[in-house]
């Protein structure tokens, strides 16, 4: 018997106006896994990722059909408030985007403050736990009250991860989280992911196939809006079933 997947996508189609960016995607993601979405630019992997926490609601003309179930609940179901849904899903963006007018501490707890938590002791506990979770605590524990923008780019991105972790998301979406970082910072975040999957489930969009191979347990290959192949990462990279996947992972295009 297999566990109930944390995320199920069923026949998901995404449109920008009349242009279809994602076609009939079926996908299951297991709890506590790291799942990589790979594919060439414009293949729909980021578009699909942003459908999971309803970010497309903010884009005029964008439309999502089909079902996305988060822990069995339809993300797009009638009566579902996107604001509440987003609280259950964490997101880390391409470029580090801490809030520049807030301190390190205020950045980490900004999600908790949105949820109405004001108790300083509780905020401090969560901040420390989240910063430790993002492997940043030792570096910033003495400057929690200084502006977040004083940190280096790699630290800022780990701060954004801590900010996402603070609300204990059921699933963490990462949209090319290392594409703006140097190799050393990238390595730190990749190491971090194997720790993170103990507390949450990760879906990571990446351009970097080596990164996908290093960090993920399962990989989904997107091409022109289709989910071409989904499977265990080793199998996708060593013995893909689809010849398009093979062409991509062996570097013949993209």
């Amino acid at each position: 018997m297999t566990a109930v997947p944390i995320l199920t996508a069923h026949d998901v189609n995404i449109f920008y106006g009349s242009k279809q960016a994602v076609k009939n995607v079926h996908l299951e993601v297991q709890r506590g896994s790291v799942n990589a979405l790979i594919g060439p630019s414009g293949c729909g992997k980021t578009t699909f990722l942003r459908a999971i926490n309803r970010m497309h609601d903010l884009t005029p003309g964008a439309r999502v059909t089909g079902k996305i179930l988060l822990d069995g609940e339809d993300v797009y179901g009638p009566g579902v408030d996107p604001v509440n849904m987003r609280r259950r899903v964490g997101m880390v963006f391409q470029k580090p985007n801490p809030f520049p007018t807030m301190s390190v501490f205020d950045n980490v707890v900004s999600g908790l403050k949105l949820a109405g938590i004001r108790d300083n002791k509780r905020l401090m506990e969560v901040a420390e736990r989240s910063l430790r979770g993002a492997a940043l605590w030792e570096e910033v524990k003495d400057r929690l009250k200084t502006p977040a923008t004083g940190l280096s780019g790699g630290q800022q991105q780990r701060l954004c991860i801590a900010r996402a972790l603070a609300v204990e998301p059921e699933i963490l979406l990462m949209d090319e989280p290392t594409s703006a970082l140097d190799p050393a910072s990238t390595a730190k975040i990749e190491d971090l992911m194997s720790e993170l999957k103990k507390v949450t489930t990760i879906i990571i969009v990446t351009h970097n196939m080596h990164q996908a191979a290093r960090v993920s347990g399962t990989t989904s290959f997107f091409l022109n809006g289709d989910l071409v192949e989904h499977g265990v990462t080793d199998q996708i990279f060593t013995s893909p079933r689809d010849e398009r996947t093979e062409a991509y992972v062996t570097g013949r295009f993209g």
């Binding site: 970010m55 509440n84 987003r86 470029k95 520049p100 949105l114």
Partner: protein, 334 residues
């Protein structure tokens, strides 16, 4: 076969000569601006010297401005300028930021563009038109209310009390809000007109900086489970605050220096500020109203000294504003 790289014909001498000519030209044009600035400062200083020598620092603290008696003190006008400008700013900034948020964040495109254009158009209306509008439209409305206040028997006591106070060149908080005349002109009308006149400066700057807030700042807040209002209040406005303040300073500069419209509606009284509804004057309005009539050297010099004070007031306000903006500007964003 690859062709050997051919060196481009030398044009070094020619272009460096052109560069030098351009450099000198630019330097000359830039110096003209500095020169004009220094020259006007010198002229202001020279012409206001007699007044400043006669009255010294008391020119800024003395409340009497009486050409007949030959006594000139700018305190009342400085107060008038600060009061009208700051109150107008206080009223117009929330309106301007609200309109900027509406245009940038809430209105659909077909509505946002015309509304934004109309707000900017407010800045294109000539001062004199604002002045006429205030005199013909707003003043009668205020006058009607003031007349009703005087005719109300319940107010007789208050009016008598305040009249006595005013006669002894004093006022208090209650009397400051009691009308001292029924003409509609005065401090309040100047504040109303300034509020409308400076609104477009803050509004259009605020709208532009709000639109420039990066999408990933908004998305970061949305992704944490924020409502639209929370995104605006916690991500967009903090990010844009320095820029918005820049617009506020622009508006304040405009308000401090606004001359014609204020001179038309404020009532041109150099007595102490008795009432919000009473006649008053600002530094700029006194310059406009009295410069032509100032025959005596000391009168003329005092009027110029007002100009010099206004000049320094603006410089100080701008300098402080720059300090604040520098502090508020988000730094080090990747």
């Amino acid at each position: 076969m690859i062709e050997p790289a051919r060196r481009p014909p030398s044009r070094g001498a020619l272009s460096s000569q052109g560069d030098r000519v351009f450099q000198i030209l630019i330097l000359a044009l830039a110096s003209i601006i500095v020169l004009i600035f220094l020259l006007s400062l010198y002229q202001l200083g020279r012409e206001s010297l007699p007044a400043l020598q006669r009255f010294g620092f008391r020119f800024f603290t003395e409340r009497t401005w009486n050409p007949v008696a030959g006594t000139y003190g700018a305190a009342t006008m400085i107060m008038g300028t600060l009061l009208t400008s700051l109150v107008a700013l206080l009223i117009s900034v929330p309106l301007a930021v609200a309109s900027a948020l509406f245009v940038a964040e809430y209105a659909p495109k077909w509505l946002a563009n015309p509304v934004g254009y109309l707000i900017e158009l407010l800045a294109a209306v000539p001062s004199v038109v604002y002045g006429l509008w205030a005199l013909f439209v707003i003043a009668p409305i205020l006058g009607k209310w003031q007349t009703a206040f005087f005719l109300n028997p319940d107010n007789v006591g208050t009016i008598t009390r305040c009249n006595e106070l005013w006669a002894s060149q004093q006022t208090n908080l209650q009397c400051f809000f009691v009308p001292s005349g029924a003409g509609g002109r005065g401090l309040a009308l100047a504040i109303i007109i300034l509020t409308v006149m400076i609104l477009p400066y803050t509004a259009s700057v605020a709208r532009d900086v709000i639109r420039l807030v990066p999408a990933d700042q908004r998305e970061a807040m949305y992704a944490l489970g924020a409502t639209k209002w929370e995104v605006i209040s916690r991500a967009i406005l903090p990010y844009a605050r320095a820029g918005i303040l820049g617009g506020v300073i622009l508006a304040l500069g405009r308000a401090l220096g606004e001359t014609l419209a204020v001179a038309m509606v404020i009532g041109d009284s150099q007595e102490i500020l008795k009432s919000l509804w009473g006649n008053a004057s600002t530094m700029a309005s006194v310059i406009a109203n009295q410069f032509g009539d100032a025959q005596e050297t000391i009168h003329r010099s005092s009027v110029v000294a007002l100009g010099l004070s206004l000049f320094f007031l603006s410089v100080i306000v701008n300098y402080v504003a720059r300090l604040i903006i520098a502090r508020l500007t988000p730094k080090g964003i990747q």
